[in-house]
Amino acid sequence: MSDQPLRVRLGNWDRNICQCDFDDTPFEHVKYWASRALVWFKKIGIDLKGFIIFESSQKEHHPVEVDGKVVARLTEPSYHLVFDGAVSWAENLHVINWIALESQNENVQRYAMMQAIKETSTIRQGPKGDKPSPRIVYRFGSQEGMIQRFLEHRRFIKQTLKRNEKLGIPVNCPDVDCLLKHLDAREPCVNCTRLFWELYAF
């Protein structure tokens, strides 16, 4: 991929996939709340079946200073949690807000509020600036329902990124129609001088 970072974020949006974003949270904490939600919601009739945890980008903060110089920076990882059971939007909000309230995690609470405002839940699947795409770190229970679907979307995004890297599709065309024509033909335009990657890192 080009050195220039991607200008946009690519993610999965859905109302039927129950997904949650744990920013700056240790892995044990995420795993604990995922397992607890699985047991609790099965009791009250919402079968979440299983879950998968992705490790997202690590944030660098809390600088350790000695004599005014930053010696080290503590990093805290972020995780994404996706459940396997298909849920309605009402059930989805129920699950996310229950986890947010019970865990007393401010980041999860903020995430839950944002999803409720947007009326869809979104999780990042593509790269973020210089940081890579989230990677799978843990699986538990069934993986054949919504998780399979989620992974299909992830594969689509990865393939799109890879395909464009391989083809080097140009975008220095005079108009969008020209770009669409190149996408159909999968070949560079004679009028274009610069490659798509150089301009948009995509």
């Binding site: 200008r7 946009v8 993610g11 464009n164 969008v176 669409l180």
Partner: protein
């Protein structure tokens, strides 16, 4: 699946004029017992009897309802699987904007490529649209602006 020996034995007992219950008992005593539904199908076939008229009459109503519900859920999940849903989000002058596409294959790929280039219009910063419809009239959805280089956005 029943073995050939079991089928032959059922045929033989049916010719002797034994009832299905008697055949079942005999097979069990000979250590050749099998699933009752399968056995009844064979007995009907060998005796030339028609299949039962209303088999659902003997199934509890709750079980039938549960079966229908399971089928419905399976269908719903299958329908949902047809299309992918991709969100593209970033900022323009510090303000969040988002495209939410649903569709499949090439249409979705092309839409993503265009949306990466240009953000949605300011009047409608959060746009959810079918990829096929988007490609028919992309000028209606895309603005001439460009995405910020390093967007500070959250999911």
């Amino acid at each position: 699946m029943p073995t050939k020996a079991q089928v032959d034995r059922i045929r033989e007992l049916s010719r002797q004029g034994k009832s299905a219950n008697q055949i079942d008992r005999t097979l069990r005593s000979e250590h050749m017992g099998m699933r009752r539904t399968t056995l009844l199908n064979y007995v009907r076939e060998f005796k030339g009897r028609p299949p039962p008229r209303h088999p659902e009459r003997h199934i509890p109503h709750r079980a039938i309802a549960a079966r229908k519900m399971r089928k419905k859920i399976r269908l719903r999940v299958k329908e949902m699987r047809k299309e992918k849903k991709i969100a593209i989000y970033g900022t323009v002058d510090g303000e969040g904007r988002r495209f939410q596409f649903l569709g499949k294959g090439k249409d979705l790929y092309k839409s993503v490529m265009l949306a990466v280039r240009h953000p949605p219009k300011k009047e409608k910063p959060f746009t959810t649209v079918d990829a096929e419809k988007f490609l028919e009239d992309y000028g209606r959805y895309l603005s001439r602006e460009k995405w910020d280089e390093r967007p500070a956005v959250k999911s």
